[in-house]
């Protein structure tokens, strides 16, 4: 029992006061107990990750701590003093800043305006823009990014990572003692994650208490020191990173060991004839794309953010079509100019941002699931014959296939949880009977257990003879799922790698190194 890595961490002997502490916090929403008697402590100069499955209560806890929700019971203590927040701004003024996944920036305003919205410095009754820009530059300097970001730049002109930095600068400008981040690395590239890591290190040294929610255990282990696991609204354990392995954390989250994160890869005899063949295809965003996709295989598309992967998917699907080059589907030459034609030719595209691109929130779940099927049928196709009667059997069948949890398919889709909404999108494509599927970040924002379910389903599809193109930023996912790996860089195909290539090889190719270097890495890795 000694050195049991799963034993909770005890307070340090000097009895340092936690920067923020929650005690016996409970919160109930209609039909679900989101948080049940949770007590936690967060210390200064510490990076603390909160993990758990979808619905474990992480977001709710963060929202309570940042003043967006009021707990039903329990107290919050800031530096030993009890506090209550009835508005997020109250929390912000007390030094608790939260950065959500969908950034809270105004795209058409400058960085300085965004940071100081509501607190603009004034002089003689008017807004002092020069002072505001100067103060903005100061906070940007405090986090070391004053060279990257200018206070007068428009928020919309910044990259996702830069926008996140602005959000962090905003927090600093509030003299934040606690910084809460929801999935901070979700939209970042590999290198950007590294930069964020460095920044968090600097914040840590300033004595800030950094708390973040993430599903990416790999990054949790890279960045955090302490890890707290929540399950079904209840506190499970807080562990120290150095004492555990990711598998232990997963066990705490899920209650069982997940034997395979990934289903086994396909074997050569599983792969059939070439279904999709692209030769020298280009448009304004891509150049000279060339590859083949075979029946029954998973072709992973890897690459840094901005390398053109989503553009490739959009080109294939007709959203931003290719302007030159050739495309062959099942051996027939074809030009896909719009999604309608793509779907008619049995292609499916499960987009990256499922909430804004996949679901019509005010339509019933049933209609969402049948959306694609109906889109390609006769425009004035009568629902009475096709849709309604068929949907009575088809919809529940699909729902069961993707394991949607809902009491009725006639409810508006917006009332489903995020995870269930993603399942509806999946169901929609399964209904369409496609035989070439494009997945763009299929498990982004999904918890560990459901991730495995989706991976299993993708492999299931290939067993049925469907060809899958899978875009992913998570290297473990690429390596775990791909029968072949296509690496993109700089809006071109950088090259192809075989299954089970190492992360190193993939990253080298993605960052534009020569084949020789990559070969070297491959052979040295195998020794």
């Amino acid at each position: 029992m000694e050195n049991d890595p799963l034993e909770p961490v005890s307070k340090s002997p000097q009895e340092i006061l936690p920067t923020i502490e929650v005690q016996h916090i409970s919160k109930r929403f209609p039909g679900v107990m989101a948080l049940d008697d949770v007590s936690l402590q967060f210390f200064p100069g510490e990076v603390h990750a909160v993990v758990g499955e979808n619905g474990a209560g992480k977001s709710t806890l963060m929202k309570i701590m940042s003043g967006a929700y009021i707990p039903d019971s329990g107290d919050i203590y800031l530096g030993g003093e009890k506090v209550t927040f009835n508005h997020p701004q109250a929390a912000q003024l007390k030094g608790i800043s939260i950065i959500y996944q969908e950034f809270n920036l105004l795209p058409e305003r400058t960085v300085a305006h965004n940071i100081f919205l509501g607190r603009e410095p004034s002089r003689f009754g008017t807004m002092d823009i020069r002072q505001m820009n100067k103060k903005a530059r100061d906070v940007l300097k405090e986090i070391g990014v004053e060279k990257m970001i200018s206070p007068s730049a428009l928020a919309s002109s910044l990259s996702v990572a830069e926008q996140q930095l602005v959000e962090i600068a905003k927090a600093i400008s509030f003299k934040a003692k606690v910084l809460i981040m929801d999935e901070p690395t979700a939209a970042l590239t590999y290198t950007e994650v590294g930069l964020l890591d460095d920044l968090i290190g600097r914040l840590k040294q300033k004595g800030m208490s950094v708390i973040f929610i993430s599903h990416r255990l790999r990054e949790v282990f890279d960045i955090a020191e302490k890890i707290t696991v929540l399950k079904d609204g209840k506190f499970v354990k807080t562990v120290s990173k150095k004492d555990v392995a990711p598998a232990d954390v997963v066990y705490l989250m899920v209650g069982r060991t997940l034997d395979h994160y990934f289903p086994p890869l396909g074997k050569p005899e599983d792969f059939g004839e070439v279904v999709l063949k692209i030769k020298d295809a280009s448009n304004t965003l891509l150049q000279g794309i060339q590859f083949e996709l075979r029946k029954g295989e998973v072709l992973g598309i890897a690459g840094l953010q901005g390398s053109g992967r989503t553009e490739l998917a959009q080109a294939l699907f007709g959203v931003m079509p290719f302007k030159s080059g050739s495309m062959e589907l099942h051996g027939k030459a074809i030009a896909i100019r719009n999604p309608f034609k793509a779907i008619r030719n049995k292609m499916g595209f499960v987009t990256e941002d499922r909430k804004s691109e996949g679901i019509a929130p005010r339509q019933p779940i049933r209609d969402n699931m049948l959306l694609t099927v109906r889109a390609i049928q006769n425009l004035f196709g009568v629902l009475l014959k096709d849709g309604i009667r068929k949907s009575r059997k088809l919809v529940p069948m699909l729902g069961k296939q993707v394991d949607i949890k809902t009491d009725s398919y006639d409810r508006e889709a917006q009332y489903l949880s995020g995870g269930n909404q993603q399942k509806v999108v999946l169901a929609k494509w399964l209904a369409s009977d496609a035989d070439v599927f494009i997945f763009d970040e299929p498990t982004r924002g999904i918890d560990v257990e459901s991730k495995a379910g989706i991976h299993d389903m993708i492999r299931e599809l290939t067993k049925r003879g469907i060809a899958v193109l899978m875009i992913s930023s998570e290297l473990p996912e690429i390596i775990g799922m791909s029968d072949r790996i296509l690496v993109m860089a700089d809006h071109k195909v950088a090259g192809e790698l075989p299954a089970k290539s190492s992360e190193n090889e993939i990253m080298l190719m993605a960052t534009g190194h020569s084949n020789a270097v990559i070969q070297n890495a491959a052979s040295s890795g195998k020794e």
Partner: protein, 335 residues
């Protein structure tokens, strides 16, 4: 044995509960309409408590209802059609000249009108789809275009009268109908159009796609919906229905330069009173029709109360605001 004694009671309370649930779900426009109509009936039993009177009311309300149906389709799509009022003006003025006081010209004139509606809707839809101009601005421009064009064509004043056979659709009745007495042609036309629209909107893929586009156009695109095609067709339907509404209104009211002015606002208001969301994604044909009936009933009520026309406008404004506020607040509470 206690089972059989308690079952009828629970059965009854279950019935009550489901009735109450049904009442809660009923769109507010229906009770509002019926209350107003009942008040009308109490104030003027001769007119509003007689079948004759009801039929007369329906004849008056039909044009706005037809306009509201078309407008609702565009609203469900997430857009606006501000040109429908000008289209009504167009129909009445241009027909007055086309007819040249000769009844034989009636049917060709109507055909030309319907054709024009098709063109107007087509242009509206194409501009929004391909030039990406928001429908608010597009149909605003079209409104000026259509009104200017119509006034130019007739030189600023009606060029003739509308022949009786042309006016029959909006003005005349089918006589000697069992049970109902006389039924206005306008109402029959409304029923036909309403049924057609109901079928298209609630019972075909077309309607579902309109809702999806209004709800989340990107999701619609990515799911293979032919957004541009659906949009153009929707605008065409709206304009053609506006033409029909114009024919009904001209039949009923005769020629008049200002006819149709402001009707686009009334059509939108009718839809909103009927519970249509002004962002798209939700809509119901029957509700829109009753929204129009409600507006008309309000106008009639105010006239009956002896309120001079100016006050009618003011009260209409108050009621529109009130109805929308009520609908908005009650839907917020439902969440």
């Amino acid at each position: 044995m206690t089972e059989s004694i308690s079952t009828p009671q629970t059965g009854f309370s279950k019935l009550l509960r489901s009735i109450w649930a049904g009442i809660k779900k009923t769109p507010p426009v229906y009770p509002i309409f019926f209350i107003i109509f009942i008040i009308l009936g109490l104030l003027n039993p001769n007119k509003y408590q007689s079948m004759n009177g009801v039929m007369t009311f329906l004849r008056t309300a039909a044009p706005l209802a037809v306009l509201a149906i078309g407008e609702m389709l565009v609203l469900a799509l997430g857009g606006f059609d501000l040109s429908v009022g000008a289209i009504v003006t167009f129909v009445v003025l241009v027909s007055s000249k086309l007819l040249a006081n000769d009844p034989a010209n009636a049917y060709p004139a109507i055909m030309i009108m319907l054709g024009s509606g098709l063109v107007i809707g087509l242009v509206n839809g194409l501009i929004v789809s391909y030039l990406k101009v928001p429908s608010f601005i597009t149909t605003l421009g079209m409104m000026l275009l259509v009104r200017g064009g119509a006034l130019y064509y007739v030189g600023g004043a009606p060029q003739g009268y509308l022949t009786d056979n042309w006016r029959a659709f909006g003005r005349n009745y089918i006589e000697n109908v069992p049970l109902f007495g006389r039924v206005p042609y306008a109402f029959i036309i409304l029923i036909v159009i309403g049924a057609l629209a109901y079928f298209l909107f609630h019972r075909t893929h077309f309607g579902k796609q309109i809702l999806t586009i209004g709800d989340n156009v990107r999701a619609a695109q990515f799911s293979g919906v032919r957004v541009k095609l659906v949009r153009v067709l929707t605008f065409i339907l709206c304009s053609v229905f506006a033409i029909i509404g114009g024919i009904l209104l001209g039949g009923f009211g005769g020629v008049n330069v200002t006819i149709g002015e402001g009707m686009e606002m009334q059509a939108i208001a009718a839809c909103v009173v009927g519970g249509v969301l002004l962002g798209g994604g939700k809509g119901n044909i029957l509700n829109a029709i009753f929204g129009a009936f409600t507006l008309q009933a309000i106008v009639n009520l105010l006239n009956l109360l002896g309120l001079p026309k100016p006050y009618t406008d003011a009260v209409q404004g108050l009621i529109i605001i009130g109805a929308v506020a009520y609908v908005g607040i009650s839907s917020l509470r439902k969440r």
